[in-house]
Amino acid sequence: MINFLKFSVIFLSVTVFFCMYRSIKGPTIADRIISINVINTKIITIIIAVSFIYHETYFIDVALVYALIGFTASILISKVIKES
């Protein structure tokens, strides 16, 4: 069953690279922030899968803090878009 966790980590990493292509190339700034928001969600999932692969439970707290910081960052950057 742990091979499926490893497969999900590799699969999500590949899709992160596709989102990163959009965030580099994207025509407007809203495209870039939307794709970075998706990358944020995928990295939360990757951190929890890695914590189950390594049997280290404190990675879950890292994922929780990462979710909080990502939400704050996207709210602040969208306010910057609105005022620019």
Binding site: M1, F4, L5, S8, F11, L12, T15, F18, C19, Y21, R22, T28, I29, A30, D31, I33, I34, S35, N37, V38, T41, K42, I44, T45, I48, A49, F52, T57, I60, D61, A63, L64, A67, L68, F71, S74, I75, I77, S78, K79, I81, K82, S84
Partner: protein, 99 residues
């Protein structure tokens, strides 16, 4: 039985992640990309994290993952909505300035 539910939820979540990423790559403009990224954020992440809960069993770790699921459910559509609304208002302002 447990592994069957684990497979169903995990591959459902990964399928939604793949579909959302394909939409972000191929859709033509900002609003449709925001629609597809909301699929990826809510359904993909929630199904995958539910599959990790089933893999773990009932524990303190499961409670923390459920807290993360509730947080993602609240914040991620909010973030997409605020980004899209900021883009829309900026576009409307620039249109009024041109007139």
């Amino acid at each position: 039985m447990k592994s069957l539910f684990f497979f169903i939820f995990l591959f459902g979540g990964l399928l939604f992640f793949a579909i959302g990423t394909l939409g972000i790559l191929k859709f033509p403009e900002v609003y449709s990309r925001a629609h597809s990224s909301a699929k990826c954020d809510t359904l993909g992440a929630i199904l995958t994290l539910i599959s990790f809960c089933i893999y773990n069993g009932f524990n303190l770790v499961t409670v923390k993952i459920v807290i993360i699921i509730i947080f993602i459910m609240i914040t991620s559509p909010t973030a997409t909505h605020i980004i899209t609304r900021g883009y829309y208002e900026k576009k409307e302002d620039s249109k009024n300035e041109n007139i």
